[in-house]
């Protein structure tokens, strides 16, 4: 398919109008005989592709063995969309329209990557990660070489005054790291693995996918040829656009596959009664069930069950009034989540601001404290929750011990006599949520402190000097200068803390043992409830609806935050 030299211009084409990408519209595109052949071949390929896609969509719609109706329609729709795009590409290619080339490139790329990924799947690459993990376990000690290389490289950082020595150390460290990584890969059986994968090519499905990959790749490559680009009058900017799409493509495809697609699918699921294998469309039933509330007046001396309709359970009783809900636990979970979110935000943001202010007073050893405060964020929620669970133990836990030690100090004062306490913490309905709140605030405190500290260090010191000369006191400076100047940081800290805490799951799941929820649902949170409905009872349609409600709630909170920020941002 080698093109000859820049031959004479082919038959003149229509002047290309309204092409968004072309910059060289003034010049009529020159087409060689080879380019014309390639374009005709490309058009034929798109005709074939469109036909094949329609057939595939039809086959999928007929396939009764695929149980998921919604998903089947979804995928079939996507395939038909591809077929339509292929027909459009065909027409536009024949009319020498630059958009045809763009669509053709896009289709060939997407389907090429798709068949390559499927080919890898058929060859068993993804599944073989399990074996990779097993042999990694055996050979992991070779990673020590990487560590040694890293250390050699960081020794070089000490020679900032001697650049050649520094570079030598960096290079040596790099070599050691690279060599150990390669040795590790070889030891783990990289070569055998590749051979094993290639031997899977005997499978007919693999062969089909392989040839599809090759064909898509070939036509993609052909359309990218300079001669073809010239034939379509594509210029510098089009080349830039193509590379732009190529660079964003891995990210964008992953985003579509693992984010946008599931997001839409989730919305669909929330209108079904999916149990993860079958799904029936039920309309708004899940949402109605979630939001079913009933307000009623209870005559004195009567039980609330008498006034609530069947299916409704008492949620809360305020004097003569009773509120009933169909899904009582959802409302309890939502309330717990709000309480948790409020207290964790308060307890982790306010002290963090104070500690950060102290840390910012440029005392020696600041870095040391900063590093210490960061440790809980590294340890992760599960590890921390496991530790705190024992600190909360009512008999042997350090928390009760510490409280009693402090009470003991007070008891030394005259006329004070406080009996030692034995708080049940996680085991009691009254204190379980509070226990989790204290732990979560503790974990977020250090992180927020570091965020505030960074914000404080961004405030130039000269501003304070001026204020000091004007006679402002420490407190005045904090109130009228630090706080307003720190507002963007505060906004960021509060928003991230709110969004994180509204999704709380691991803390109650680990600390109040599974299935979780704590004594009398006292630590049931929204996401924990979602998990229970979705994965313990496999009511995934209902759980998806709960997820969307939680999401909209988080969204609303964030929106309010933004509004507040805009209003008070520059106070």
């Amino acid at each position: 398919m080698r093109e000859g030299s820049q031959g004479e211009p082919g038959s003149p084409c229509d002047p290309i109008k309204g092409k968004p990408m072309a910059t060289t519209t003034a010049r009529k595109p020159a087409t060689t005989a080879g380019a014309a052949l390639v374009i005709r071949l490309g058009a034929a390929w798109h005709a074939l592709l469109a036909f094949g896609l329609v057939a595939a969509a039809w086959a999928l719609l007929q396939a009764r063995w695929v149980q998921r109706d919604g998903l089947r329609l979804y995928v079939a729709g996507l395939i038909l969309l591809g077929a339509v795009a292929s027909v459009i590409a065909l027409v536009l290619l024949l009319r020498r329209d630059g958009r045809g080339r763009a669509i053709s490139l896009g289709l060939n790329y997407i389907f090429g990557v798709g068949s390559l990924l499927s080919l890898l799947g058929v060859l068993g690459l993804y599944i073989s990660l399990d074996e990779v993990a097993a042999s990694f376990n055996r050979w992991v000690w070779l990673l020590l070489g990487v560590l040694v290389g890293f250390l050699i490289g960081s020794v070089g950082d000490r020679f900032t005054h001697a650049p050649t020595t520094q570079a030598a150390f960096h290079r040596a460290g790099g070599w050691v790291m690279g060599a150990s990584a390669i040795i590790l890969l070889l030891a783990m059986g990289l070569i055998q693995g590749v051979i094993g994968l290639l031997s899977g090519l005997g499978n007919p499905l693999a062969l089909v996918l392989l040839s599809a990959t090759v064909l898509f790749g070939l036509f993609f490559w052909l359309m990218l040829r300079p001669q073809i680009a010239v034939a379509f009058g594509a210029g510098e900017r089009d080349a830039e656009a193509v590379s732009g799409f190529l660079f964003i493509a891995p990210n964008l495809l992953g985003f579509m596959l693992f984010f946008a697609g599931p997001l839409l699918f989730s919305l669909y699921l929330s209108f079904t009664n999916s149990d993860s294998f079958t799904a029936e469309f039920v309309g708004l039933r899940n949402y109605i069930e979630i939001f079913s509330l009933q307000f009623a007046q209870v005559p004195p001396g009567q039980r609330s069950g008498a006034v609530l309709s069947s299916g409704y359970i008492e949620l809360v009783r305020l004097g003569d009034f009773v509120v009933g809900a169909k899904d009582r636990i959802f409302w309890i979970a939502l309330w717990n989540t709000i309480v948790y979110c409020f207290w964790v935000t308060m307890l982790s943001v306010v002290p963090a601001l104070l500690v950060a202010t102290i840390l910012n007073s440029k005392i020696p050893g600041m870095q040391f404290f900063r590093a210490i405060y960061f440790i809980p964020s590294i340890a992760g929620v599960v590890g921390v929750a496991v530790i705190w669970k024992w600190l909360y133990n009512s008999n042997i836990g350090f928390l009760n011990y510490g409280i009693n030690q402090v009470l003991g100090l007070f008891n030394r004062l005259p006329f004070v006599e406080i009996a030692p306490v034995q708080i049940a913490w996680l085991a009691s309905q009254q204190t379980a949520l509070a226990s989790i709140i204290i732990m979560a605030a503790w974990q977020l405190l250090g992180f927020n402190t570091i965020l505030f500290l960074a914000g404080l260090q961004g405030i130039p010191g000269e501003i304070y000097e001026a204020a000091t000369i004007d006679g402002a006191s420490n407190l005045q400076r904090f109130r009228y200068m630090t706080l307003p100047l720190l507002a963007p940081t505060t906004f960021f800290v509060v928003t991230t803390t709110l969004i994180t805490t509204l999704q709380v799951f691991s803390e109650p799941f680990v600390m109040t043992p599974p299935p979780g929820g704590g004594p009398n649902n006292s630590t049931m949170t929204a996401v924990l409830y979602l998990y229970q409905r979705g994965f313990n009872r496999f009511e995934q349609g209902y759980a998806a609806a709960v997820a969307w409600v939680v999401f909209l709630f988080i969204f609303a909170v964030t929106l309010v935050q933004f509004r507040l920020q805009r209003r008070y941002g520059d106070m």
Partner: protein
């Protein structure tokens, strides 16, 4: 002169106050980890001590006639001595006389008879507490008594001279203890739960996710920052918007997707969905946009490809930004719990990650906090080590990305 000194004093006072607050706060932060670390070295008999003790202690032992026996501090006629307990001895009940509670008697349980028989034993009230009434023989006559406490009469010997024996109540003897690290706890926890496999799984998953995220976000960030293509800016806005969408909404459809693809219980499910990130792409784009354009224009003139420009000009400049993103991703991947919990769900222990193993271990070793803490120490130590090595990127990365 005087003013200067008072200023100096004030400065010192401020320093002391600041350090006091920072240290207290630091202790508060670090204490749970100290608890974790020391508990992981405790003997199983040492963990349920009340009041609790931070450091791991165990009873000191001596060898007497070839047997290993515990050492106690015992009150002997010659004063307080360190002796070895060779015989636990018989159960011993200390009774107090009903007529005169200060008179106590030590008896074996069978030497006391219940007043009114075992089925309808009489009771008395002493200091507001109801006690059972017993009879014992004392000096040839029966005496009504109640139980004060129980203990054991142990037989102690001098560890240096086993011929010298002493009888003493075990309640009065205090064990001789010293700080002792039970390193075998780590061995035991590896036998109980495959923490080592989970550790390497977590490492592998984290490494793959970090590499994948860095690659895709460097490529995407460069495209957003430098390359003009149709729909770029609206696509970027969509990317920004998705950062706001919580993972909660994706849990169920992603699980179903994994079921369809056949990745439930597979390592692939822990890696593949996580190597694409809108947030990382955004961070990289912000960094690349700050790099002056003249650098690449010269290279473009020379006909260098975009990929080469990215690799030879942008990536070396973006070192700190990439390191920051890598550390963020590392923390996220290492500590992720919800997704592994959902997708590694049929007890396939070979593919578990640390967070899951800890969760299971917590249930299995519910009565051995020392083992649970040993597992937690293993889980926490690797990120901690990396934190010590790459502290700069962690803290400064958070500081720079937090304040956009």
């Amino acid at each position: 002169m005087k003013r200067a000194r008072s200023y100096q004093t004030q400065k010192w006072l401020t320093y002391i106050a600041a350090y006091a607050v920072l240290t207290m706060f630091g202790l508060l932060i670090i204490f749970p980890f100290m608890f974790m670390f020391f508990t992981s070295f405790k003997a199983s008999g040492d963990v349920f001590r009340s009041p609790p003790q931070l450091l791991p202690y165990s009873v000191q032992t001596a060898s007497v006639n070839g047997e290993t026996v515990p050492l106690y501090r015992v009150e002997t006629p010659e004063g307080l001595r360190t002796l070895a307990l060779v015989d636990q001895g018989a159960l011993l009940v200390i009774f107090a006389s009903v007529d005169d509670p200060s008179r106590t008697f030590e008896r074996a349980p069978r030497d006391a008879k219940p007043v009114g028989g075992f089925t309808a034993q009489e009771q008395i009230t002493v200091d507001g507490e109801t006690k059972l009434l017993w009879e014992i023989e004392e000096g040839g006559q029966t005496l009504p008594v109640f139980e004060l406490s129980r203990g054991r009469m142990g037989v102690f010997v001098d560890p240096d001279d086993p011929q010298v024996t002493f009888d003493a109540s075990l309640t009065d003897a205090t064990p001789v203890e010293r700080i002792d690290l039970q390193i075998q706890n780590y061995q035991r926890v590896l036998e109980l739960q495959n923490i080592d496999r989970s550790l390497t799984n977590t490492m592998l998953v984290t490494i793959l996710v970090v590499i994948g995220q860095v690659v895709t976000s460097v490529l995407g960030g460069y495209a957003f920052a430098r390359l003009r293509f149709p729909g770029r800016d609206s696509l970027f806005v969509v990317y920004l918007g998705t950062i706001m969408i919580p993972f909660v909404v994706l849990i169920i459809p992603m699980y179903q997707l994994m079921v369809i693809v056949g990745w439930v219980d597979r390592i692939a499910a822990l890696v593949m969905p996580w190597i694409f990130t809108a947030y990382g792409t955004f961070l990289m784009r912000q960094f690349f946009i700050s790099i002056p354009k003249d650098l690449e224009e010269a290279a473009l003139m020379d006909g260098a490809s975009r990929l080469r420009i990215l690799w030879q000009i942008f990536v070396p400049l973006a070192g700190p930004a990439i390191a920051t993103q890598a550390t963020f991703t590392f923390l996220y991947a290492w500590n992720s719990f919800v997704w592994p919990l959902i997708v590694i769900n049929t007890g396939n222990f070979g593919n578990q990650v640390l967070t899951l193993s800890l969760m299971v271990l917590q249930g299995r070793a519910a009565e051995s906090p020392n083992l649970v803490m040993a597992g937690t120490t293993i889980a926490v130590s690797v990120p901690l080590l990396i934190f010590v090595l790459a502290q700069r990127y962690f803290v400064e990365g958070i500081a720079t990305t937090g304040i956009k």
